[in-house]
């Protein structure tokens, strides 16, 4: 017993080092392996507050660009509005009767990162704005990511620029689906994998979300095909997708709440049993 105590006291620095490094290593492994339940994340009042202060100073610098983005979006929406009102002049829907399937919440990005293998964004909406895990995050141009951790006032978003991210996507022209991943090379290019070799693929085609999960509605823009190759086995295509969003300059985003998500989840859980 005496010898054990002596050993501990003699090597206390080394043992403390092992303990601390062990904790750090397990946090790292945990952040690499699981999509969920991270202990250390930036959705808390300290980091949120600091990022908020910095953001309130920095946001003036790109007001001009943000204005252009808003005008572009307004133009697109107005065109859609004018064109639809012509075709359904006689139908009138009472918005109180028709259930809204999706609800949209606006948010501002406090922290953006795009240079590590797993990137996260921090936004200024949280539990008190009824944000929960697995809500989709988009901009007017295309998808951004999925809500990961939430605190009262802030949330972190798992960016599509992450090796952990898998998003159901399809070719807009032929409805062939695949899964969108990221290989960590460039923040402007993502990869669409597992597209059947029978699909008609051509450079410049649009890729949109597939709508097979409850996270994103069908048909939200992702990007344009830059180039494509058949994979080693020759059964599927791997497509390089140039993203519509410039992930390096995001500022304002929309969060999509799917009101049917809970019901779908319960149904899927029943199927698993």
């Amino acid at each position: 017993m005496q010898q054990i105590f002596n050993f501990v006291i003699r090597n206390k620095t080394f043992l403390l080092f092992l303990l601390l490094f062990g904790i750090a290593l397990s946090l790292t492994i945990q952040s690499h392996s699981y999509h969920r339940s991270k202990f250390i994340n930036s959705a808390n009042s300290l980091s949120g507050g600091v990022y908020g202060t910095v953001n309130s100073i920095g946001q003036y610098l790109d007001l001009k660009d943000q204005n252009i983005i808003l005008v572009e979006e307004n133009k697109k929406l107005r065109e859609e509005l004018l064109n639809t009102s012509k075709t359904n002049q006689n139908t009138s829907l009472d918005s109180n009767i028709v259930d809204k399937k999706f609800k949209i919440i606006t948010a501002e990005i406090y922290k953006n990162s795009y240079n590590s293998p797993n990137n996260y964004l921090t936004i200024n909406r949280g539990k008190r704005d009824s944000i929960q895990q697995d809500f989709g995050v988009i901009t007017s141009k295309g998808i951004v990511g999925i809500i990961d951790n939430t605190s009262n006032k802030f949330s972190t978003v798992l960016s599509i620029l992450s090796k952990k991210s898998r998003i159901n996507a399809k070719l807009k022209s032929s409805n062939q689906s695949g899964s969108l991943k990221w290989n960590g090379a460039s923040p402007y290019i993502a990869q669409l994998e597992d597209v059947s070799k029978f699909a008609k693929v051509s450079v410049g085609d649009t890729i949109v979300t597939g709508g097979q999960s409850a996270i994103f509605p069908k048909g939200i823009g992702i990007g344009r095909i830059e180039e494509f190759t058949t994979d080693a086995s020759g059964d599927t295509y791997t497509i390089q997708v140039r993203l519509f969003n410039d992930m390096t300059t995001l500022q304002h985003v929309y969060i999509i709440k799917n009101n049917d998500a809970e019901e779908l989840e319960i149904l899927e859980a029943l199927n698993d049993e």
């Binding site: 601390l20 290593l25 946090l27 808390n44 980091s47 460039s186």
Partner: protein, 167 residues
Amino acid sequence: MNNSLASNIIRFIVLLLAQVTICNNINLLGYINPYIYIIFILLFPVKNNRLLFLVLVFNLGLIVDMFMDSGGIHAGASVFLAFARPVFLKYAFGTMYDHQNLKFGNSDIGALIMYVSGCVIFHHLILFYLEIFNISQIILLLKKALFSSIFTVALSLLLILLFKPRK
């Protein structure tokens, strides 16, 4: 003693804030960022309580990790550097370190450059290994570590020499 305590506390907070608000957003060529918070580890007094030093450095790294959503990579790399620091001190400063009268403020500039570069490269190799966590991407790892190291060494030396205490 009190002076040293105060300056270390201020250094801890200022470096942390500078790291998370400025240095993480530089993204030179898309991915090169300096990690200047390790100046705290480099300049921590040599005559110290090593247990306290390890705990402080672990917390510093963990807070950086919290801001960056990076798991525990900064905490791990920082603790490793803090533990291995005596080796670098001995290698760079030699007898001055052996006699326990080392002051970073009035040390030889060549030795200081050696010390800072050694520590930074060591720290960055561990950091990017933990971040990428895949030995098959060793080229990417070395590329990131090399470019970030150059940036960090240059910025750290500049800051250390700029804020050197007057004799």
